[in-house]
Amino acid sequence: MRDIGLRMHFFRFLLLSLWAAAFGAQAGLPDYQSFPASGDRLVLWVASERGRAEPELRAAQRLAEQGTEVWSLDLVNAYFLPQLPSSMDELPPQDLADWLRAAQAGGKRVVVYAVARAAVPVLRAVALLDPAQRNRLCVMLMYPNLYTAAEPLAEPDYLDVGKLSGLRVRVLQPRRSAATPWLPGQLDRLALHGAEVSSVILENLREGYWARETPTEFEVAESQRMDAMLLRELNTWGCK
């Protein structure tokens, strides 16, 4: 009987600890992994709703070795959320806005790199920044998904992400994606929110090519040189 009582206490303690941990994780800045570097550029890498994959961490490490500091954020993990696009829509933009301000306060040139539906909380956070803070920021979106609904035979509906005036956005779109024919519509939508938009097509790649179950040889090779791709895009874009 005493044994059962002890077990009950233990489970109560365990549940309380989990609740406290979840609450703690949601308060203030989200928990991120840092890859320090001495260069003057800081990339805020926000993983997709599917979570952070190993090749992304390796690329972040390699970027740091080449002088670009990276803060890597896995939102579904940080907020204990299911790996679903809708999870991204529920995140508190204020937390992310604070994170962006903290990054800018370091004095480095800050570039946010958000994957898939992570574009939504990132853009909503950017919309909360002062115009001067927003003007100093660059955002790269890897195959962003900004739809509320996209059903066959119907015009797509887009989420409201807020005011993006003065923000420079570059969209990276893998060619082999059902979203590629819809890229102009997404770019128009971002421009409508006030962003200065440009895009690049990544040939012979599919969405999430670094975490595919059956990747092509080319996708495997590109996963291993994701750092080079990002540096190339950053330099080509010339967001300064």
């Binding site: 996209a150 066959p152 035979l153 082999r176 059902a178 024919p181």
Partner: protein, 173 residues
């Protein structure tokens, strides 16, 4: 209690199985324009298939679920030989070379059309691949399916047979 739970569980299972394919019925919707070319470069429109039930499948050679359902589309073609059914596969936003590379490995007996610039994909509002439209003999959209299925059996076959049955005489096996 145990029996009740078993009945509930079985009910859920059968219900889920019955809706697995997820065909959405449409109220005889006018179809958007289709302007594509076949692999030899000849222009094709929906008018080329008027008088037949049409399975219009948007796909791409890089899309694993699309390739998974292709063999069942070919089996459907063989099963329906001689009946007024046309299967048309519209490749979304790829080049002739990319499509040909796949077709050299997978022999398909139904027409494959190219939508190289993605304009048909946009006109038909296709946001996911595969997406398939079932058209009646008058060219109206009757069902839409997003995602893959086994076309030669189950709900897919029942839906196709129901459209063929609307055709007097010709629709019968």
């Amino acid at each position: 209690m145990k029996r009740l739970l078993t009945v509930l569980a079985l009910g859920l299972l059968f219900n889920a199985g019955g809706q697995a394919a997820g065909f959405e019925a449409r109220e005889r919707l006018p179809a958007p324009e289709l302007r594509a070319s076949d692999l030899k470069g000849a222009s094709k429109t929906l008018a080329d298939y008027r008088g037949k039930v049409v399975v219009l499948n948007f796909w791409a050679s890089w899309c694993p679920p699309c390739l998974r359902e292709m063999p069942s589309l070919e089996r459907l073609r063989l099963k329906m030989a001689g009946r007024p059914l046309e299967i048309v596969a519209v490749d979304s936003a790829e080049t002739l070379e990319e499509v040909s590379a796949y077709l050299s490995r997978m022999k398909l007996g139904f027409p494959v059309l190219l939508d190289a610039d993605g304009s048909n994909t946009r006109r038909w509002k296709v946001f996911a691949l595969p997406t398939t439209f079932l058209l009646d003999a008058e060219g109206r959209i009757r069902y839409v399916l997003t995602g893959p299925t086994e076309w030669d059996e189950g709900e897919a076959l029942r839906v196709i047979e129901s459209l063929l049955a609307e055709l007097p005489q010709q629709g019968k096996p």
